[in-house]
Symmetry: none
């Protein structure tokens, strides 16, 4: 089954507000095997809302509206569904009575305006709202399509969806088995990845494959749906295995966990620890490690040496090396890593020095050049030079952190 979600409300068309209800609904719908194929955000305007409902009915079997069920004249979802479907709105004295009782329970008299919330589309089933005044509605159409109206405030929408809407939906759907697999990949670009694996995953319509890319981090999601769990699992296993063979050690996690968690897991398994010495990233790597609960089992801390004085003072980098090679150079990266490892008394240390821009850089090492050093047990000491596209300071720093984590992962493997 395909679903479309319409978030109703002019405030959702400002620059300060996002529709987040659809994330919750999408998660729950996917678990029932319902795919969301379209999302819309429409203001409080009856004509525009009617057009959006008609459009969604052309593209989905299930149309969910959130919001616009309040008592004010801006709340036009009921009326727009009336126009789009031709079903009449009928006053429901039961709902009205329940509303009056709700207000009375707070010692208040119901305002006349709230009577608008007691109008129901002819033939619709009421979805009672335990947390607010706007009941939801479930309207089954002769076309076998369904229109569902839910309140906008998440605190009302979520319980109403879980208690009333989703169980009703589940009862009419065929039982479904779902299997998912998440592979995370580092050390390559998005197009490089796609060249390698598109010929594989394009052979499968089921599982569905999606790829997410973010600052040097790639996530591959596989999702298979069939009627039997054994078959669904077999589908993701089969495609997953083919992708794993194609990517080899570029895959760092199979459970969705981020790269820093994968590195910490490897370290903890070996009973080893890591320290950092950060120049251009200035703590971003350390902060990534510390973002993982339980990081202290392997991450000890380190140094932020943002200027050359600190590189000399805290990490004892030779002044003549800084003068001769510059602070962004292989020997400086190596000295930073070795010194951080020694002083922090850790098994490993990662160092990062580079030009994040906008200023700085040399002809040989322009903005975007980063040297990453790794010091490890048994005299392990290496450095790697990276050259990222210049022009975006934050992105260069994020890519650097990602690369350093990946280098340590490969060194540990």
């Amino acid at each position: 089954m395909h679903a479309a979600i319409i978030a109703v409300g002019s405030e959702l068309l400002t620059h300060t507000r996002l529709d987040t209800n659809s994330l919750f609904l999408t998660e729950k719908l996917n678990l029932l095997g319902v795919e969301v194929v379209l999302k819309m955000v429409v203001g409080d305007h009856r004509g525009k809302l009617e057009a959006a409902i008609r459009y969604c009915l052309n593209h989905a079997e299930l149309v969910i509206l959130t919001g616009g069920l309040g008592p004010t004249e801006d709340d036009l979802t009921r009326e727009a569904v009336e126009s789009a479907t031709g079903r009449a709105l009928v006053f429901d004295s039961h709902i009205c009575g329940a509303l009056e009782a709700r207000f009375a329970s707070f010692g208040r008299k119901m305002a006349e305006i709230n009577k608008r919330q007691a109008f129901v589309l002819e033939g619709a089933e009421i979805l009672p709202n335990a947390k607010g005044t706007a009941p939801g509605q479930w309207l089954a159409m002769p076309s076998r399509q369904i229109i569902v109206m839910l309140p906008g405030p998440p605190g009302e929408m979520k319980p109403l969806a879980e208690e009333e809407f989703l169980p009703r939906l589940q009862r009419m759907l065929p039982p479904l088995a779902l299997s998912t697999l998440t592979l995370r990949v580092a050390g390559m670009g998005e197009s490089e990845l796609d060249v390698l694996i598109a010929p594989i995953y394009k052979q499968y319509e089921n599982p569905v494959t999606t790829i997410l890319a973010k600052a040097g981090d790639l996530t591959i999601h596989l999702r298979a749906q069939t009627t039997s769990q054994v078959e669904a699992d077999a589908l993701t296993s089969e495609l997953g295995a083919k992708i794993e063979i194609a990517l080899g050690d570029r895959i760092y996690s199979r459970d969705g966990s981020p790269l820093e968690a994968a590195v910490l897991r490897l370290l903890i398994a070996k009973g080893q620890s890591v320290a950092v010495a950060e120049s251009l990233t200035a703590g971003m790597l350390g902060s990534r490690f510390a973002g993982v609960a339980g990081a202290s089992k392997a991450f000890v801390g380190g140094f932020i040496t943002y200027n050359n004085g600190q590189k000399q003072g805290l990490l004892h980098v030779d002044p003549w090396v800084l003068a001769e090679h510059g602070e962004v150079s292989e020997p400086v990266a190596l000295q930073m890593a070795a010194s951080a490892r020694e002083q922090a008394n850790s098994h490993w240390a990662l160092s990062l020095t580079g030009y994040a821009g906008p200023d700085g850089g040399t002809e040989e090492n322009p903005v975007g050049t980063v040297f990453i050093g790794i010091a490890g047990p048994d005299g392990y000491l290496k450095s790697h030079r990276f050259r990222y596209p210049g022009g975006d300071r934050e992105r260069i720093r994020q890519f650097s952190v990602q690369s350093s984590l990946n280098l340590l992962r490969l060194a540990l493997d």
Copy 2:
């Protein structure tokens, strides 16, 4: 002018991802007097995308598509606009040459697949993408409508929109006098702020006031629109002055710049420097400083002492103080700050030690407790205890960083 925004990408229809590009675009469009009347999210499906474009052309004069301009076969925005408008896609050898040069500058050869990004709709103007491989396109239609295609990654979309798309749009719009004022506030909560200033800004329909809250950081936007610039400026000045009086030194910036930039500006004006000593935040504060271009004029670096061994080894915190008071305590915060300042040879140092959770904490200092130390010139040495709501590790760390920056700002003022 009315605009519709279509966010393209199947990943934006999953439960893990939201379209946030439209918030940025809405803010910029509103400043030009353009109202966003509709937003859609559509998957990587040519037919569905074509239908969405046709629909938006029925409801807006400006249709903006973000995403789907990448090199893979899933990137179908160009083709969907071709189908929806009947304009042919034409290979542009100039773009192709620029793409090849971009890859060459990183020492890489362009993949064949990237040639897809060199196809342009007949009659469209190219919007060059300085940050990525996908150029934007601006297509003026005979109906006087405009279709604009922008890349999906925010790091590419935003600069492209600011440098290429929005100036072009502005030139064709009637001049509108607009005046904006941004006040950023630290050291108080959102509801506390609203109690103070709502009685003031509610008196004004023009300027429009919006408040954004994020991890201890509050931003107040005032926006006045009239036909005369003098009048628009007078409106924001009048309301802005009233809000400034109500908030006093809680306002840290009047130009939109973040708190770390305000602190660095104060330091640079005094010719002073700052170092950090971070435990629970493990580099997040240092990384915030280093995110500001030119930070090295005042930020020198510091220490990440994630475990007690590092607090002792790198910062010489007394073992008996750690044993007697615990690592999350006033004396430890003070020793960390004083030692970091001395060793980094800086004018100021900020230290952070606390329980981010999920484990840890004591009865006296449960998860969410953070001590922040400040060491400064002339024997300045203070610590402050904060107690944030537990349960969200990342949020506790972000609030801590924000509080430490605000304490230094107030100490410098």
